[in-house]
């Protein structure tokens, strides 16, 4: 188990600076997620942790020791790739055995460990098969077993679920989380899927263009996103962002006015679809589209300030397309951002027009 630290880490590929300056501490035994869109530097960070990329500057520490130049094979890091990266020419048993070959583990002990790891991820009956004979989910488990068999001090998961179908993804999510609880190994998950990050990780590091936007628990990121980017990235369906101008306690946007507390100037109001209610008060609109999602219904409401998404509980639509409605919300659920700096204004809220 290890505590991981990035100190002013820089990574450049030629002239391109992928990570300008990264500072981050991951506690021993923690499960963190690196979340961000493609090309934000999350996989680069992961490969630096694995020892595949050499940092261009700064220090990378495992348990207080600088490991910048320690080779990948000496770091005792387990990694699961998006493609699983199983060795196609080896049986499942030899795949899981592979890391132990270089640890000079005695044959009997190694085989016992392989058995234990295979049992842990429930692939014990597949040991004699080739990777090509396994389903995606099974390959995923084998890759996990291979990463875990050497008892790594750090487990790295690079988009581990993105090649699985939806229902399998759900069960693997649960399994990986319970494995972490069982083994307590420090785990870093790289993903572009906010649901994966929020459901599995203790802490989420939200990245954008090589910089860390926000670090926090899933709740922090959802309830108090520090920037417009995080607010837009977390939450499904995505948040409604409405830009306007605030003057004398009133935000004016095209076709509506909100009363604002604690902010002025060019603002962007953030309203999550699940916090909006269709009712008697609020701003007016016309229902343009209805998207039933099973337990919930998503209404796309055409208003003076553009299309607004409203998520209502319940399985049957209470309104029909084309109906004129009013949309209200509780002021404490609203978020207010400074448009120019794209930052959250803490404590500021808006109130729906009467």
């Amino acid at each position: 188990m290890a505590k991981i630290e990035f100190r002013n880490v820089v990574k450049r590929f030629g002239a391109v600076e992928v990570i300008p300056d990264m500072n981050l501490v991951i506690e021993d035994g923690e499960f963190v997620a690196l979340l961000g869109p493609s090309g934000c530097g999350k996989s680069t960070s992961l490969f630096m942790l694995a020892g595949i990329y050499l940092p261009s500057g700064g220090e990378l520490l495992f348990d207080g020791h600088i490991v910048n130049e320690v080779e990948a094979r000496d770091r005792n890091v387990g990694i699961v790739f998006q493609s699983y990266a199983l060795y196609p020419h080896m049986s499942v048993r030899d795949n899981i055995l592979f890391p132990l070959r270089f640890k000079k583990t005695p044959r009997d002990e190694a085989l016992a460990k392989v058995k234990a790891a295979a049992d842990l991820v429930r692939v014990a009956e597949l040991l004699d098969r080739r990777p090509s004979e396994l389903s995606g989910g099974q390959q995923q488990r084998v890759a996990l077993a291979r990463a875990l068999v050497k008892e790594p001090q750090l487990l790295l998961l690079d988009e581990p679920l993105s090649n699985l179908d939806a229902s399998l993804r759900l069960s693997m999510r649960t399994e990986i989380k319970s494995l972490h609880a069982q083994l307590g190994v420090t785990t870093v998950l790289v993903t572009h899927d906010q649901i994966e990050a929020t459901t599995m990780a203790d802490r989420i590091i939200c990245m954008r263009a090589g910089r860390i936007e926000q670090v926090g628990t899933p709740d922090d990121l959802y309830l108090r996103p520090s920037s417009l980017f995080v607010a837009g990235f977390i939450g499904s369906p995505p948040i409604n962002l409405i830009a306007g101008e605030a003057e004398a306690g009133t935000v004016t946007v095209d076709g509506a006015r909100f009363l604002v507390e604690g902010a002025s100037g060019a603002l962007t109001v953030g309203l999550r679809p699940e916090h909006l209610r269709i009712g008697d008060t609020g701003f007016a609109g016309r229902i343009a589209q209805i998207e039933p999602m099973g337990r919930e219904i998503l209404y796309v409401v055409e208003t003076g300030m553009g299309a607004v998404r409203v998520l209502e509980q319940g399985s049957s639509a209470g309104y029909s397309t084309g109906e004129q409605v009013k949309i209200g919300f509780l002021p404490e659920n609203s978020l207010v951002f400074e448009t120019a700096r794209q930052k959250l204004i803490a404590g500021a809220h808006v109130r729906a027009p009467a």
């Binding site: 694995a50 020892g51 080779e71 094979r73 770091r75 387990g78 990694i79 890391p99 291979r146």
Partner: protein, 366 residues
């Protein structure tokens, strides 16, 4: 469900009736015709290739010293040509895969039977005398009462061994060097990489014969003229560029992930290369090995130029001298040597055919 009852009779009357059976029959006829034409074309283009081999084998097993008769050849043709036509008709007329196989088996059985009946009594192994009689040239010549002037032939197995040595050593070196070089070209960035890749193809485009005089001089000066090593080095140099290019295509197709995975699993770069990357390009290695071996096996120009002593003869030189010495007397022996020379490459091709087919796929990726 609401079923709509459309008055069928009136619709049918207003539209022209479609005769589905006639359409199907026409499609069948078209398909049949296409197959017949296709097989005819394939047979027409393959006959000029197969016929010389057929004759070579027939002559090797039937010709007699000093007798320039072609009756056996004509009799074998009398079996061969109807057999080809019968195969063609079978393929064209067969209604199902089962019928096709039964038909082909029947034709083949009849053809073999007819061949044994018409040519069988003339078949013999006498032309393979060179396999057990090193001085066969004198023996053959003495049969027609002419002894003087026979070339002193080395034992054929010696020439066979030389050919195996040249082709084998060339293959071993090319496979080793090409794998390492191609891996490096595929995985590492270094100055001059792209120009090197381009020059690989340019090198292959050069007609190698233009270099034969300078090569001769170089081998003479470094003392490798008239040695097998010299020829091996020259062949390796000419075969490497293309082999590297092919192998690079195979290495490019190996995902980075499994290599990175091996590194984090505790392997060194070399261990990862040997235990994880190399097994993925096994087909490529087999393909270039087979091609290089056959290239070395059939090599004629370089060995003819650079090897002089008859103890250094390869099979191609042996064949050349046999032709030179006894052709006028006994073309059966020449054919027999040809068959003997042909067999190893034939066996190798058949054994490796599966991997050779994949080379084009792997190669295109490069």
């Amino acid at each position: 469900m609401v079923t709509q009852h459309i008055p069928m009779a009136s619709t049918a009357a207003s539209e022209p009736t479609v005769d589905w059976d006639a359409l199907a029959a026409r499609a069948r006829a078209v398909r049949r015709t296409k197959a017949v034409v296709l097989y005819a074309f394939l047979i027409a283009v393959s006959v000029p290739i197969i016929l010389p081999y057929f004759w070579l084998v027939t002559i090797a097993f039937s010709a007699k010293t000093g007798v320039a008769e072609t009756a056996v050849l004509w009799r074998s043709m009398a079996v061969f040509v109807p057999a080809v036509v019968a195969f063609w008709l079978t393929a064209a007329l067969a209604q199902s895969r089962r019928q096709l196989w039964i038909g082909i088996a029947a034709v083949a059985a009849i053809a073999v039977f007819a061949f044994v009946l018409s040519v069988g009594p003339d078949l013999h192994l006498g032309n393979f005398i060179f396999l057990w009689e090193p001085d066969f040239a004198s023996v053959v010549r003495s049969r027609v009462g002419e002894i003087k002037g026979a070339v002193q032939f080395p034992n054929v197995w010696h020439a066979f061994g030389n050919s195996i040595l040249i082709a084998g050593a060339q293959t071993a070196i090319v496979v080793t060097v090409a794998s390492l070089a191609a891996y490096y070209l595929s995985r590492f960035q270094f100055p001059g990489r792209s120009s090197m890749l381009r020059s690989l193809l340019v090198l292959h485009a050069f007609p190698v014969l233009t270099l034969i005089v300078p090569m001769f001089l170089m081998l003479y000066w470094i003392g490798l003229l008239d040695t097998l090593y010299g020829v091996i080095l020259v062949l390796v140099a000419f075969e490497l560029p293309f082999a590297i290019f092919i192998m690079k295509g195979f290495f490019d197709a190996v995902p980075w992930d499994i290599e990175m995975s091996a590194l984090t699993d505790g392997a060194s770069r070399r261990q990862a290369f040997v235990s994880v990357v190399l097994p993925q390009v096994r087909n490529g290695i087999l393909a270039i090995a087979v091609f290089t071996f056959i290239r070395g096996w059939e090599e004629y120009i370089f060995v003819f130029t650079f090897l002089i002593r008859n103890s250094n003869w390869t099979m191609s030189l042996y064949m050349y001298w046999v032709r030179d010495d006894v052709m006028g007397v006994d073309y059966g022996v020449v054919s027999a040597v040809g068959v003997f020379y042909l067999v190893p490459s034939l066996i190798l091709y058949m054994a490796a055919q599966r991997y050779l087919m994949q080379m084009s796929i792997g190669g295109v990726k490069g």
